[in-house]
Symmetry: C2
Subunit: 135 residues, 2 copies
DNA sequence: TTTATTGCAAAACCTTTGCATGTAT
DNA sequence: ATACATGCAAAGGTTTTGCAATAAA
């Protein structure tokens, strides 16, 4: 339940927060910009200002509920954080973002890290191209 | 020589274009924002408007002279395009961007692409962490 | 001379912030 | 009652664009 997860963050349970979190739970597109979220909410006759949406997204990210991504255009997209790292494929045609898990990447990276004496804290892998539906 | 490469693009050879391309050739930091470039040019008493810099960067990218990256903050960085793909490590402390070549990544990606029937046209891998100098 | 390029100022776009009002605890 | 959330309007930063002046071919 949304309210459970929200309660654990220490943030107050407000209509805005419930509504915004709700958008992510109703699993359509999973990668959403602030504007996307406002748009979705309007369709349910819920009006929330962008200022609040941006503030709440930031709080949710800090709380570990959401993950923030910046892909190619310069707007941030958010998605639910599921606890394990996954990577992304982005379709040039339909702009869809597809998650995938890459089991092998950690081993490969280690070689690079060692060579450069780089202490890695995170990584981002994005594949660009044409998705199954658009081929 | 700069002018050779520029000539091949079909773009007119102007002072602005020579100066901007020149900045990338004098190999210090290799990853530069529009503002960085303007700043560097000022140090040589060359004044070029940001409007022009943005336009030229776009043209150079289209011509294949430069590659555009958007890492974490929301400003674009450009670097010379050398014809072969390389990936990036970004240091949290000094913000330096380090290029590296990952020989194995192609094999890894193929599995994923096959599974999702995704036709890849490009990819981006960024490792975040602490670089050798900052450890 | 023709066409492309430049600078300026204004605008577009995404995101953040100050402040006064409203709401959860 | 207190502390936190919200909306509005304004402002921030990066990038784009219309237009008149300028320079390359």
């Amino acid at each position: 339940m949304s309210s459970e997860k929200l309660k654990n963050t220490g943030l107050k349970i407000t209509n805005a927060r419930l509504a915004i979190f709700g958008v992510f739970e109703q699993e359509q597109d999973k990668h959403l910009s602030a504007y996307n979220i406002q748009d979705r909410l309007k369709q349910t006759n819920i009006e929330i200002s962008l200022a609040t949406i941006y503030r709440v997204l930031g709080q949710f990210e800090e709380a570990g509920l959401l993950q923030r991504h910046e892909f190619d255009d310069d707007k941030a997209l958010y998605e639910l954080y599921d606890g394990e790292h996954h990577d992304h494929m982005i379709c040039n045609k339909c702009s869809n973002v597809i998650d995938f898990i890459d089991d092998d990447i950690n081993n490969r990276k280690d070689k690079v890290l060692e060579k450069y004496n780089f202490l890695m804290s995170g990584h981002r892998l994005v594949l660009y191209g044409t998705c199954n539906d658009c081929r």
